[in-house]
Subunit: 300 residues, 2 copies
Amino acid sequence: MSWTKIMECVPNFSEGRDLEKIDKIVNPFRSKEGVKLLDYSNDIDHNRLVVTVVGQPEALKEAVIEAIGIAVQLIDLNHHQGQHPRMGAADVVPFIPIKGCTMDDAIALSREVGATVAERYNLPVFLYEKSASAPHRENLAAVRKGEFEGMAEKIKLPEWHPDFGPAERHPTAGTVAIGARMPLVAYNINLDTPSLEIAHGIAKKIRFIGGGLRYCKAMGVELKERGITQVSINMTDYTKTALYQAMEMVRFEARRYGVNVVGSEIIGLVPMAALIDTSAYYLGLENFSMQQVLEARIME
Amino acid sequence: MSWTKIMECVPNFSEGRDLEKIDKIVNPFRSKEGVKLLDYSNDIDHNRLVVTVVGQPEALKEAVIEAIGIAVQLIDLNHHQGQHPRMGAADVVPFIPIKGCTMDDAIALSREVGATVAERYNLPVFLYEKSASAPHRENLAAVRKGEFEGMAEKIKLPEWHPDFGPAERHPTAGTVAIGARMPLVAYNINLDTPSLEIAHGIAKKIRFIGGGLRYCKAMGVELKERGITQVSINMTDYTKTALYQAMEMVRFEARRYGVNVVGSEIIGLVPMAALIDTSAYYLGLENFSMQQVLEARIME
Protein backbone atom coordinates (compact mmCIF):
# COMPACT_ATOMS: atom_id res chain seq x y z
CA MET A 1 0.00 0.00 0.00
CA SER A 2 2.75 2.41 0.89
CA TRP A 3 3.65 4.99 -1.64
CA THR A 4 5.78 7.16 0.61
CA LYS A 5 6.15 9.73 -2.19
CA ILE A 6 3.36 10.66 -4.57
CA MET A 7 3.79 12.97 -7.53
CA GLU A 8 1.01 13.98 -9.90
CA CYS A 9 1.38 14.75 -13.60
CA VAL A 10 -1.23 16.31 -15.92
CA PRO A 11 0.27 16.05 -19.41
CA ASN A 12 -1.65 17.66 -22.28
CA PHE A 13 -1.31 16.13 -25.74
CA SER A 14 -2.44 17.61 -29.06
CA GLU A 15 -4.79 14.83 -30.10
CA GLY A 16 -8.46 14.92 -29.17
CA ARG A 17 -10.09 13.06 -32.04
CA ASP A 18 -8.31 9.86 -33.08
CA LEU A 19 -9.30 7.38 -30.35
CA GLU A 20 -6.76 4.83 -31.49
CA LYS A 21 -3.89 7.30 -31.12
CA ILE A 22 -5.29 8.52 -27.79
CA ASP A 23 -5.35 4.98 -26.52
CA LYS A 24 -1.70 4.46 -27.49
CA ILE A 25 -0.61 7.68 -25.78
CA VAL A 26 -2.47 6.83 -22.56
CA ASN A 27 -1.24 3.25 -22.55
CA PRO A 28 2.09 3.81 -20.72
CA PHE A 29 0.05 4.93 -17.69
CA ARG A 30 -1.95 1.73 -17.50
CA SER A 31 -1.35 -1.28 -15.25
CA LYS A 32 2.16 -0.21 -14.35
CA GLU A 33 3.65 -0.77 -10.90
CA GLY A 34 3.85 2.54 -9.03
CA VAL A 35 1.66 4.46 -11.50
CA LYS A 36 -2.08 5.09 -11.29
CA LEU A 37 -4.08 6.63 -14.11
CA LEU A 38 -6.81 8.75 -12.47
CA ASP A 39 -8.47 10.27 -15.49
CA TYR A 40 -8.10 11.20 -19.13
CA SER A 41 -10.41 13.20 -21.31
CA ASN A 42 -10.21 14.25 -24.92
CA ASP A 43 -11.95 17.29 -26.33
CA ILE A 44 -12.88 17.22 -30.01
CA ASP A 45 -13.18 21.01 -30.42
CA HIS A 46 -9.92 21.62 -28.62
CA ASN A 47 -8.39 18.59 -30.38
CA ARG A 48 -6.58 17.91 -27.15
CA LEU A 49 -6.08 15.14 -24.60
CA VAL A 50 -5.61 15.84 -20.88
CA VAL A 51 -4.31 12.97 -18.72
CA THR A 52 -4.29 12.96 -14.92
CA VAL A 53 -1.91 10.44 -13.41
CA VAL A 54 -0.23 9.93 -10.04
CA GLY A 55 2.69 7.75 -9.11
CA GLN A 56 5.89 7.18 -7.30
CA PRO A 57 8.32 9.69 -8.81
CA GLU A 58 10.64 7.26 -10.61
CA ALA A 59 7.86 5.10 -12.03
CA LEU A 60 5.86 8.16 -13.06
CA LYS A 61 8.93 9.67 -14.75
CA GLU A 62 9.45 6.60 -16.93
CA ALA A 63 5.78 6.44 -17.92
CA VAL A 64 5.68 10.15 -18.82
CA ILE A 65 8.85 9.86 -20.93
CA GLU A 66 7.34 6.88 -22.73
CA ALA A 67 4.03 8.66 -23.41
CA ILE A 68 5.80 11.76 -24.74
CA GLY A 69 7.75 9.51 -27.12
CA ILE A 70 4.54 7.95 -28.44
CA ALA A 71 2.94 11.38 -28.91
CA VAL A 72 6.02 12.63 -30.78
CA GLN A 73 5.78 9.61 -33.05
CA LEU A 74 2.00 9.73 -33.69
CA ILE A 75 1.11 13.44 -33.81
CA ASP A 76 2.01 15.77 -36.67
CA LEU A 77 1.31 19.39 -35.72
CA ASN A 78 1.41 20.41 -39.40
CA HIS A 79 -1.97 18.76 -39.70
CA HIS A 80 -3.39 19.80 -36.30
CA GLN A 81 -6.42 22.07 -36.04
CA GLY A 82 -8.20 22.95 -32.78
CA GLN A 83 -9.51 25.78 -30.63
CA HIS A 84 -6.89 25.40 -27.92
CA PRO A 85 -3.47 27.02 -28.38
CA ARG A 86 -0.71 24.43 -28.77
CA MET A 87 2.95 24.28 -29.72
CA GLY A 88 3.74 20.58 -29.55
CA ALA A 89 2.54 16.99 -29.81
CA ALA A 90 3.15 16.76 -26.09
CA ASP A 91 2.17 20.34 -25.39
CA VAL A 92 2.59 20.92 -21.67
CA VAL A 93 3.68 18.56 -18.90
CA PRO A 94 3.32 19.85 -15.31
CA PHE A 95 4.54 17.85 -12.30
CA ILE A 96 2.73 18.45 -9.01
CA PRO A 97 3.99 17.36 -5.57
CA ILE A 98 1.22 15.59 -3.65
CA LYS A 99 2.67 13.70 -0.72
CA GLY A 100 6.11 13.10 0.78
CA CYS A 101 7.79 15.25 -1.83
CA THR A 102 8.48 18.94 -2.22
CA MET A 103 8.26 21.49 -4.99
CA ASP A 104 12.04 21.11 -5.34
CA ASP A 105 11.52 17.39 -5.99
CA ALA A 106 8.94 18.22 -8.67
CA ILE A 107 11.32 20.74 -10.26
CA ALA A 108 14.13 18.17 -10.27
CA LEU A 109 11.80 15.59 -11.83
CA SER A 110 10.67 18.02 -14.55
CA ARG A 111 14.32 18.73 -15.40
CA GLU A 112 15.15 15.02 -15.61
CA VAL A 113 12.19 14.38 -17.91
CA GLY A 114 13.09 17.44 -19.99
CA ALA A 115 16.71 16.37 -20.42
CA THR A 116 15.72 12.82 -21.33
CA VAL A 117 13.00 13.60 -23.89
CA ALA A 118 15.20 16.28 -25.51
CA GLU A 119 17.98 13.79 -26.03
CA ARG A 120 15.91 10.73 -26.82
CA TYR A 121 13.41 12.33 -29.22
CA ASN A 122 15.45 15.34 -30.42
CA LEU A 123 12.72 17.56 -28.95
CA PRO A 124 13.24 21.18 -27.79
CA VAL A 125 12.08 21.60 -24.17
CA PHE A 126 11.10 24.79 -22.34
CA LEU A 127 11.07 24.64 -18.56
CA TYR A 128 8.14 26.70 -17.25
CA GLU A 129 6.36 27.73 -14.01
CA LYS A 130 8.45 26.84 -10.93
CA SER A 131 11.00 25.10 -13.15
CA ALA A 132 11.56 28.15 -15.40
CA SER A 133 15.17 29.19 -16.00
CA ALA A 134 14.18 32.87 -16.30
CA PRO A 135 11.20 34.96 -15.16
CA HIS A 136 9.87 35.53 -18.69
CA ARG A 137 9.53 31.76 -19.10
CA GLU A 138 7.36 31.16 -16.04
CA ASN A 139 4.04 31.89 -17.73
CA LEU A 140 2.96 29.12 -20.10
CA ALA A 141 1.02 31.52 -22.34
CA ALA A 142 4.17 33.58 -22.90
CA VAL A 143 6.22 30.49 -23.75
CA ARG A 144 3.56 29.15 -26.11
CA LYS A 145 2.81 32.47 -27.82
CA GLY A 146 3.07 32.03 -31.61
CA GLU A 147 2.20 28.35 -31.19
CA PHE A 148 3.60 25.57 -33.36
CA GLU A 149 3.67 27.74 -36.46
CA GLY A 150 5.40 30.73 -34.90
CA MET A 151 7.86 28.60 -32.97
CA ALA A 152 9.84 27.88 -36.17
CA GLU A 153 11.35 31.37 -35.92
CA LYS A 154 10.76 32.21 -32.22
CA ILE A 155 12.98 29.38 -31.02
CA LYS A 156 15.96 30.92 -32.80
CA LEU A 157 15.77 34.11 -30.70
CA PRO A 158 18.36 34.07 -27.91
CA GLU A 159 15.69 34.75 -25.23
CA TRP A 160 13.69 31.74 -26.44
CA HIS A 161 16.51 29.26 -26.70
CA PRO A 162 15.14 25.99 -25.31
CA ASP A 163 16.39 24.71 -21.95
CA PHE A 164 17.10 21.29 -23.42
CA GLY A 165 17.41 19.99 -26.98
CA PRO A 166 18.13 21.69 -30.28
CA ALA A 167 17.25 25.36 -30.95
CA GLU A 168 15.13 24.11 -33.78
CA ARG A 169 11.46 23.22 -33.78
CA HIS A 170 10.86 19.48 -34.17
CA PRO A 171 9.43 19.22 -37.72
CA THR A 172 6.25 17.39 -36.64
CA ALA A 173 6.17 17.39 -32.83
CA GLY A 174 7.06 21.05 -32.25
CA THR A 175 8.21 21.89 -28.74
CA VAL A 176 7.11 21.00 -25.22
CA ALA A 177 6.81 22.94 -21.96
CA ILE A 178 7.71 20.90 -18.88
CA GLY A 179 7.57 22.24 -15.37
CA ALA A 180 6.44 22.03 -11.77
CA ARG A 181 3.52 23.71 -10.05
CA MET A 182 1.22 23.38 -7.05
CA PRO A 183 -2.11 21.55 -7.41
CA LEU A 184 -4.81 23.86 -8.75
CA VAL A 185 -8.23 23.83 -7.12
CA ALA A 186 -11.07 25.08 -9.33
CA TYR A 187 -13.60 26.54 -6.90
CA ASN A 188 -16.73 28.50 -7.80
CA ILE A 189 -18.93 30.48 -5.40
CA ASN A 190 -22.55 31.11 -6.38
CA LEU A 191 -24.34 34.43 -5.75
CA ASP A 192 -28.06 35.19 -5.60
CA THR A 193 -27.78 37.91 -8.23
CA PRO A 194 -28.13 37.76 -12.01
CA SER A 195 -25.72 40.71 -12.30
CA LEU A 196 -22.47 39.74 -13.96
CA GLU A 197 -21.20 43.19 -13.03
CA ILE A 198 -21.58 42.41 -9.32
CA ALA A 199 -19.99 38.95 -9.68
CA HIS A 200 -17.08 40.44 -11.53
CA GLY A 201 -16.80 43.31 -9.05
CA ILE A 202 -16.43 40.79 -6.22
CA ALA A 203 -13.97 38.69 -8.24
CA LYS A 204 -11.76 41.73 -8.78
CA LYS A 205 -11.59 42.46 -5.04
CA ILE A 206 -10.67 38.94 -3.97
CA ARG A 207 -8.07 38.12 -6.63
CA PHE A 208 -4.34 38.69 -6.36
CA ILE A 209 -4.04 41.15 -9.23
CA GLY A 210 -6.82 43.29 -7.71
CA GLY A 211 -5.15 43.46 -4.28
CA GLY A 212 -6.85 40.37 -2.88
CA LEU A 213 -5.63 36.94 -1.92
CA ARG A 214 -2.11 35.97 -2.96
CA TYR A 215 -2.93 32.59 -4.55
CA CYS A 216 -6.31 33.37 -6.04
CA LYS A 217 -7.37 34.03 -9.62
CA ALA A 218 -11.02 34.94 -10.14
CA MET A 219 -13.60 36.22 -12.59
CA GLY A 220 -17.36 36.67 -12.76
CA VAL A 221 -19.41 34.12 -14.71
CA GLU A 222 -23.13 33.94 -15.56
CA LEU A 223 -25.14 30.79 -14.87
CA LYS A 224 -27.91 31.77 -17.28
CA GLU A 225 -30.13 28.72 -16.84
CA ARG A 226 -30.28 29.35 -13.08
CA GLY A 227 -30.54 33.13 -13.39
CA ILE A 228 -27.61 33.61 -11.04
CA THR A 229 -23.89 34.37 -11.28
CA GLN A 230 -20.76 32.98 -9.73
CA VAL A 231 -17.28 34.03 -8.77
CA SER A 232 -15.19 31.48 -10.64
CA ILE A 233 -11.93 30.94 -8.80
CA ASN A 234 -8.64 29.18 -9.42
CA MET A 235 -6.80 28.58 -6.17
CA THR A 236 -3.16 28.33 -7.23
CA ASP A 237 -1.72 27.27 -3.86
CA TYR A 238 -4.31 25.98 -1.39
CA THR A 239 -1.61 25.37 1.22
CA LYS A 240 -1.12 29.15 1.51
CA THR A 241 -4.48 30.62 0.46
CA ALA A 242 -7.27 28.42 1.84
CA LEU A 243 -10.71 27.73 0.40
CA TYR A 244 -12.42 29.18 3.47
CA GLN A 245 -10.55 32.45 2.96
CA ALA A 246 -11.99 32.78 -0.54
CA MET A 247 -15.46 31.87 0.76
CA GLU A 248 -15.42 34.34 3.68
CA MET A 249 -13.97 37.08 1.51
CA VAL A 250 -16.63 36.64 -1.19
CA ARG A 251 -19.24 36.67 1.58
CA PHE A 252 -18.13 40.03 2.99
CA GLU A 253 -17.56 41.63 -0.42
CA ALA A 254 -21.05 40.49 -1.49
CA ARG A 255 -22.58 42.36 1.47
CA ARG A 256 -21.62 45.64 -0.18
CA TYR A 257 -24.14 44.82 -2.91
CA GLY A 258 -26.80 43.31 -0.64
CA VAL A 259 -26.03 39.99 -2.32
CA ASN A 260 -25.68 36.57 -0.66
CA VAL A 261 -23.62 33.46 -1.24
CA VAL A 262 -26.00 30.60 -2.09
CA GLY A 263 -23.53 27.76 -2.48
CA SER A 264 -20.27 26.76 -4.06
CA GLU A 265 -18.77 23.97 -6.11
CA ILE A 266 -15.46 22.26 -6.67
CA ILE A 267 -14.68 21.35 -10.25
CA GLY A 268 -12.55 18.26 -10.80
CA LEU A 269 -10.13 16.88 -8.27
CA VAL A 270 -9.18 18.43 -4.94
CA PRO A 271 -6.52 17.34 -2.46
CA MET A 272 -8.01 16.05 0.79
CA ALA A 273 -5.99 18.58 2.81
CA ALA A 274 -7.70 21.54 1.12
CA LEU A 275 -11.08 20.44 2.48
CA ILE A 276 -9.82 19.22 5.84
CA ASP A 277 -8.10 22.54 6.43
CA THR A 278 -11.40 24.29 5.73
CA SER A 279 -13.24 21.95 8.08
CA ALA A 280 -10.64 22.63 10.80
CA TYR A 281 -11.26 26.38 10.39
CA TYR A 282 -15.04 26.20 10.69
CA LEU A 283 -14.92 23.80 13.64
CA GLY A 284 -12.16 25.83 15.32
CA LEU A 285 -10.09 22.66 15.74
CA GLU A 286 -7.25 22.93 18.22
CA ASN A 287 -4.01 20.93 17.93
CA PHE A 288 -5.23 19.08 14.86
CA SER A 289 -2.75 17.17 12.73
CA MET A 290 -3.22 15.52 9.33
CA GLN A 291 -1.68 12.49 11.05
CA GLN A 292 -5.06 12.04 12.74
CA VAL A 293 -6.74 11.41 9.41
CA LEU A 294 -7.17 7.67 8.98
CA GLU A 295 -6.60 7.72 5.22
CA ALA A 296 -3.44 9.83 5.58
CA ARG A 297 -2.09 7.16 7.93
CA ILE A 298 -3.10 4.34 5.62
CA MET A 299 -1.28 6.04 2.73
CA GLU A 300 1.91 6.61 4.72
CA MET B 1 -1.34 0.83 -4.06
CA SER B 2 -4.85 -0.44 -4.53
CA TRP B 3 -6.56 -1.85 -1.55
CA THR B 4 -10.06 -1.98 -2.95
CA LYS B 5 -11.43 -3.05 0.44
CA ILE B 6 -10.17 -1.73 3.75
CA MET B 7 -11.31 -3.02 7.11
CA GLU B 8 -10.10 -1.69 10.45
CA CYS B 9 -9.70 -3.68 13.64
CA VAL B 10 -9.05 -2.32 17.16
CA PRO B 11 -8.37 -5.40 19.29
CA ASN B 12 -7.88 -4.88 23.04
CA PHE B 13 -5.62 -7.29 24.93
CA SER B 14 -5.25 -7.68 28.69
CA GLU B 15 -1.53 -6.95 28.92
CA GLY B 16 -0.27 -3.41 29.46
CA ARG B 17 2.98 -3.98 31.35
CA ASP B 18 5.18 -6.77 29.98
CA LEU B 19 6.76 -5.19 26.90
CA GLU B 20 8.11 -8.51 25.66
CA LYS B 21 4.65 -10.08 25.64
CA ILE B 22 3.16 -6.92 24.08
CA ASP B 23 5.72 -7.11 21.30
CA LYS B 24 4.82 -10.73 20.58
CA ILE B 25 1.08 -9.96 20.47
CA VAL B 26 1.57 -7.01 18.11
CA ASN B 27 3.99 -8.89 15.89
CA PRO B 28 1.42 -10.57 13.57
CA PHE B 29 0.39 -7.07 12.41
CA ARG B 30 3.90 -6.08 11.35
CA SER B 31 5.38 -6.20 7.82
CA LYS B 32 2.62 -8.38 6.47
CA GLU B 33 1.27 -8.01 2.94
CA GLY B 34 -2.18 -6.40 3.06
CA VAL B 35 -1.98 -5.38 6.72
CA LYS B 36 -0.90 -2.02 8.14
CA LEU B 37 -0.33 -1.42 11.84
CA LEU B 38 -1.40 2.17 12.52
CA ASP B 39 -0.91 2.39 16.25
CA TYR B 40 -0.66 0.46 19.49
CA SER B 41 -0.57 1.76 23.02
CA ASN B 42 -0.33 0.02 26.35
CA ASP B 43 -1.58 1.49 29.60
CA ILE B 44 0.13 0.38 32.79
CA ASP B 45 -2.74 1.34 35.12
CA HIS B 46 -5.31 -0.29 32.91
CA ASN B 47 -2.91 -3.17 32.24
CA ARG B 48 -4.27 -3.22 28.73
CA LEU B 49 -3.03 -3.01 25.13
CA VAL B 50 -5.05 -1.34 22.36
CA VAL B 51 -3.97 -2.03 18.77
CA THR B 52 -5.23 -0.10 15.72
CA VAL B 53 -4.69 -1.91 12.45
CA VAL B 54 -6.15 -1.73 8.94
CA GLY B 55 -5.96 -4.19 6.12
CA GLN B 56 -7.52 -6.07 3.31
CA PRO B 57 -10.20 -8.22 4.95
CA GLU B 58 -8.64 -11.64 4.37
CA ALA B 59 -5.13 -10.61 5.37
CA LEU B 60 -6.44 -8.73 8.40
CA LYS B 61 -8.49 -11.74 9.46
CA GLU B 62 -5.47 -14.04 9.47
CA ALA B 63 -3.36 -11.55 11.42
CA VAL B 64 -6.08 -11.02 14.05
CA ILE B 65 -6.59 -14.78 14.50
CA GLU B 66 -2.83 -15.19 14.95
CA ALA B 67 -2.61 -12.36 17.50
CA ILE B 68 -5.52 -13.73 19.52
CA GLY B 69 -3.75 -17.09 19.61
CA ILE B 70 -0.59 -15.51 20.97
CA ALA B 71 -2.56 -13.57 23.61
CA VAL B 72 -4.35 -16.76 24.68
CA GLN B 73 -0.99 -18.46 25.06
CA LEU B 74 0.81 -15.64 26.91
CA ILE B 75 -1.81 -14.06 29.17
CA ASP B 76 -3.20 -15.68 32.31
CA LEU B 77 -6.19 -13.73 33.60
CA ASN B 78 -5.87 -15.44 37.00
CA HIS B 79 -2.87 -13.17 37.57
CA HIS B 80 -4.22 -10.03 35.87
CA GLN B 81 -4.82 -6.82 37.82
CA GLY B 82 -5.82 -3.50 36.27
CA GLN B 83 -8.29 -0.63 36.44
CA HIS B 84 -10.04 -1.51 33.21
CA PRO B 85 -12.79 -4.17 33.22
CA ARG B 86 -11.77 -7.29 31.29
CA MET B 87 -12.99 -10.82 30.73
CA GLY B 88 -10.32 -12.29 28.47
CA ALA B 89 -6.72 -12.34 27.28
CA ALA B 90 -8.04 -10.99 24.01
CA ASP B 91 -10.80 -8.95 25.58
CA VAL B 92 -12.69 -7.26 22.76
CA VAL B 93 -12.15 -7.34 19.00
CA PRO B 94 -14.23 -4.90 16.92
CA PHE B 95 -14.13 -4.87 13.11
CA ILE B 96 -14.89 -1.56 11.41
CA PRO B 97 -15.68 -1.11 7.69
CA ILE B 98 -13.60 1.72 6.22
CA LYS B 99 -13.65 1.54 2.44
CA GLY B 100 -15.20 -0.66 -0.22
CA CYS B 101 -16.88 -2.86 2.36
CA THR B 102 -20.12 -2.72 4.30
CA MET B 103 -21.23 -3.31 7.85
CA ASP B 104 -22.50 -6.70 6.67
CA ASP B 105 -18.97 -7.53 5.48
CA ALA B 106 -17.62 -6.55 8.90
CA ILE B 107 -20.24 -8.70 10.62
CA ALA B 108 -19.37 -11.65 8.39
CA LEU B 109 -15.67 -11.18 9.13
CA SER B 110 -16.28 -11.03 12.89
CA ARG B 111 -18.24 -14.29 12.69
CA GLU B 112 -15.47 -16.00 10.72
CA VAL B 113 -12.84 -14.88 13.22
CA GLY B 114 -15.09 -15.93 16.10
CA ALA B 115 -15.71 -19.41 14.69
CA THR B 116 -12.01 -19.93 13.96
CA VAL B 117 -10.60 -18.80 17.31
CA ALA B 118 -13.27 -20.77 19.20
CA GLU B 119 -12.29 -23.94 17.42
CA ARG B 120 -8.54 -23.38 17.22
CA TYR B 121 -7.97 -22.13 20.78
CA ASN B 122 -10.98 -23.67 22.54
CA LEU B 123 -12.08 -20.14 23.43
CA PRO B 124 -15.70 -19.10 24.14
CA VAL B 125 -16.72 -16.21 21.86
CA PHE B 126 -19.52 -13.66 22.35
CA LEU B 127 -20.63 -11.75 19.27
CA TYR B 128 -21.45 -8.16 20.27
CA GLU B 129 -22.56 -4.78 18.81
CA LYS B 130 -23.78 -5.16 15.22
CA SER B 131 -22.78 -8.84 15.23
CA ALA B 132 -24.80 -9.68 18.35
CA SER B 133 -27.10 -12.69 18.14
CA ALA B 134 -29.61 -11.13 20.56
CA PRO B 135 -30.36 -7.57 21.72
CA HIS B 136 -29.09 -8.16 25.27
CA ARG B 137 -25.66 -8.99 23.82
CA GLU B 138 -25.18 -5.79 21.81
CA ASN B 139 -23.72 -3.74 24.64
CA LEU B 140 -20.15 -4.74 25.51
CA ALA B 141 -20.54 -3.67 29.15
CA ALA B 142 -23.48 -6.05 29.55
CA VAL B 143 -21.56 -8.93 27.98
CA ARG B 144 -18.48 -8.28 30.10
CA LYS B 145 -20.35 -7.71 33.38
CA GLY B 146 -18.85 -9.94 36.08
CA GLU B 147 -15.54 -9.94 34.20
CA PHE B 148 -13.16 -12.90 34.06
CA GLU B 149 -13.96 -13.98 37.60
CA GLY B 150 -17.73 -13.88 37.25
CA MET B 151 -17.73 -15.46 33.82
CA ALA B 152 -16.96 -18.88 35.33
CA GLU B 153 -20.62 -19.13 36.36
CA LYS B 154 -22.27 -16.57 34.05
CA ILE B 155 -21.33 -18.49 30.89
CA LYS B 156 -23.35 -21.47 32.09
CA LEU B 157 -26.60 -19.46 32.10
CA PRO B 158 -28.67 -20.18 28.97
CA GLU B 159 -28.90 -16.46 28.07
CA TRP B 160 -25.10 -16.16 28.20
CA HIS B 161 -24.23 -19.25 26.21
CA PRO B 162 -21.35 -18.22 23.93
CA ASP B 163 -21.98 -17.85 20.18
CA PHE B 164 -18.98 -20.03 19.40
CA GLY B 165 -16.86 -22.39 21.47
CA PRO B 166 -17.49 -24.24 24.71
CA ALA B 167 -19.91 -22.97 27.38
CA GLU B 168 -17.00 -22.97 29.73
CA ARG B 169 -14.59 -20.17 30.53
CA HIS B 170 -11.09 -20.81 29.17
CA PRO B 171 -9.06 -21.50 32.36
CA THR B 172 -6.47 -18.77 31.66
CA ALA B 173 -7.70 -16.77 28.66
CA GLY B 174 -11.32 -16.31 29.73
CA THR B 175 -13.71 -15.27 26.96
CA VAL B 176 -13.63 -12.78 24.09
CA ALA B 177 -16.18 -10.38 22.57
CA ILE B 178 -15.91 -10.09 18.79
CA GLY B 179 -18.11 -7.83 16.70
CA ALA B 180 -18.60 -5.13 14.13
CA ARG B 181 -19.24 -1.43 14.61
CA MET B 182 -18.91 1.91 12.84
CA PRO B 183 -15.78 4.03 13.35
CA LEU B 184 -16.02 6.14 16.49
CA VAL B 185 -15.01 9.77 16.35
CA ALA B 186 -14.01 11.30 19.68
CA TYR B 187 -14.89 14.98 19.36
CA ASN B 188 -14.81 17.59 22.12
CA ILE B 189 -16.24 21.10 21.96
CA ASN B 190 -14.80 23.75 24.28
CA LEU B 191 -16.94 26.35 26.07
CA ASP B 192 -15.95 29.68 27.59
CA THR B 193 -17.44 28.78 30.96
CA PRO B 194 -15.88 27.10 34.00
CA SER B 195 -19.31 25.70 34.91
CA LEU B 196 -19.42 21.93 34.63
CA GLU B 197 -23.15 22.19 35.21
CA ILE B 198 -23.58 24.20 32.01
CA ALA B 199 -21.32 21.86 29.99
CA HIS B 200 -23.24 18.88 31.24
CA GLY B 201 -26.57 20.61 30.63
CA ILE B 202 -25.60 21.14 26.99
CA ALA B 203 -24.31 17.56 26.70
CA LYS B 204 -27.62 16.22 27.91
CA LYS B 205 -29.56 18.15 25.27
CA ILE B 206 -27.43 17.07 22.31
CA ARG B 207 -27.04 13.39 23.12
CA PHE B 208 -29.28 10.59 21.95
CA ILE B 209 -30.48 9.47 25.36
CA GLY B 210 -31.50 13.05 26.19
CA GLY B 211 -33.55 13.46 23.00
CA GLY B 212 -30.70 14.83 20.88
CA LEU B 213 -28.74 13.47 17.96
CA ARG B 214 -29.19 9.79 17.11
CA TYR B 215 -25.49 8.85 16.93
CA CYS B 216 -24.11 11.07 19.65
CA LYS B 217 -22.99 10.29 23.18
CA ALA B 218 -21.91 13.27 25.30
CA MET B 219 -21.00 14.45 28.76
CA GLY B 220 -19.61 17.57 30.40
CA VAL B 221 -15.91 17.65 31.34
CA GLU B 222 -13.81 20.24 33.19
CA LEU B 223 -10.51 21.48 31.71
CA LYS B 224 -9.27 22.77 35.06
CA GLU B 225 -5.88 24.10 33.93
CA ARG B 226 -7.62 26.29 31.32
CA GLY B 227 -10.51 27.28 33.57
CA ILE B 228 -13.04 26.16 30.95
CA THR B 229 -15.25 23.16 30.27
CA GLN B 230 -16.03 21.03 27.29
CA VAL B 231 -18.79 18.90 25.88
CA SER B 232 -16.99 15.61 25.36
CA ILE B 233 -18.64 13.71 22.52
CA ASN B 234 -18.46 10.27 21.02
CA MET B 235 -19.89 10.24 17.50
CA THR B 236 -20.97 6.64 16.98
CA ASP B 237 -21.88 6.92 13.29
CA TYR B 238 -20.47 9.99 11.56
CA THR B 239 -22.06 8.94 8.26
CA LYS B 240 -25.49 9.60 9.77
CA THR B 241 -24.83 12.20 12.48
CA ALA B 242 -22.23 14.66 11.23
CA LEU B 243 -19.61 16.60 13.19
CA TYR B 244 -21.07 19.93 12.05
CA GLN B 245 -24.46 18.93 13.50
CA ALA B 246 -22.90 18.41 16.92
CA MET B 247 -21.04 21.72 16.61
CA GLU B 248 -24.06 23.76 15.54
CA MET B 249 -26.26 22.14 18.15
CA VAL B 250 -23.78 22.84 20.96
CA ARG B 251 -23.58 26.42 19.68
CA PHE B 252 -27.32 27.03 19.88
CA GLU B 253 -27.75 25.22 23.21
CA ALA B 254 -24.87 27.28 24.66
CA ARG B 255 -26.73 30.49 23.79
CA ARG B 256 -29.31 29.67 26.44
CA TYR B 257 -26.57 30.15 29.05
CA GLY B 258 -24.89 33.12 27.38
CA VAL B 259 -21.94 30.85 26.74
CA ASN B 260 -19.82 30.58 23.57
CA VAL B 261 -17.98 27.82 21.76
CA VAL B 262 -14.26 28.67 21.78
CA GLY B 263 -12.90 25.75 19.81
CA SER B 264 -13.01 22.01 19.47
CA GLU B 265 -10.70 19.04 19.17
CA ILE B 266 -10.60 15.60 17.63
CA ILE B 267 -8.99 12.91 19.77
CA GLY B 268 -7.21 10.12 17.91
CA LEU B 269 -8.02 9.05 14.38
CA VAL B 270 -10.85 10.36 12.20
CA PRO B 271 -11.96 9.15 8.78
CA MET B 272 -11.31 11.70 6.04
CA ALA B 273 -14.99 11.69 5.05
CA ALA B 274 -16.11 12.97 8.47
CA LEU B 275 -14.13 16.18 7.97
CA ILE B 276 -14.80 16.54 4.25
CA ASP B 277 -18.52 16.24 4.90
CA THR B 278 -18.25 19.04 7.45
CA SER B 279 -16.29 21.16 5.02
CA ALA B 280 -18.93 20.57 2.34
CA TYR B 281 -21.60 21.78 4.77
CA TYR B 282 -19.88 25.02 5.72
CA LEU B 283 -18.92 25.83 2.12
CA GLY B 284 -22.41 24.89 0.89
CA LEU B 285 -20.86 22.63 -1.76
CA GLU B 286 -23.21 21.62 -4.56
CA ASN B 287 -22.90 18.32 -6.43
CA PHE B 288 -19.81 17.30 -4.51
CA SER B 289 -18.64 13.70 -4.61
CA MET B 290 -15.92 11.96 -2.59
CA GLN B 291 -14.68 10.80 -6.00
CA GLN B 292 -13.35 14.34 -6.44
CA VAL B 293 -10.95 13.89 -3.54
CA LEU B 294 -7.52 13.10 -4.95
CA GLU B 295 -6.56 10.75 -2.14
CA ALA B 296 -9.85 8.85 -2.42
CA ARG B 297 -9.04 8.26 -6.08
CA ILE B 298 -5.46 7.23 -5.34
CA MET B 299 -6.71 4.69 -2.79
CA GLU B 300 -9.29 3.20 -5.14
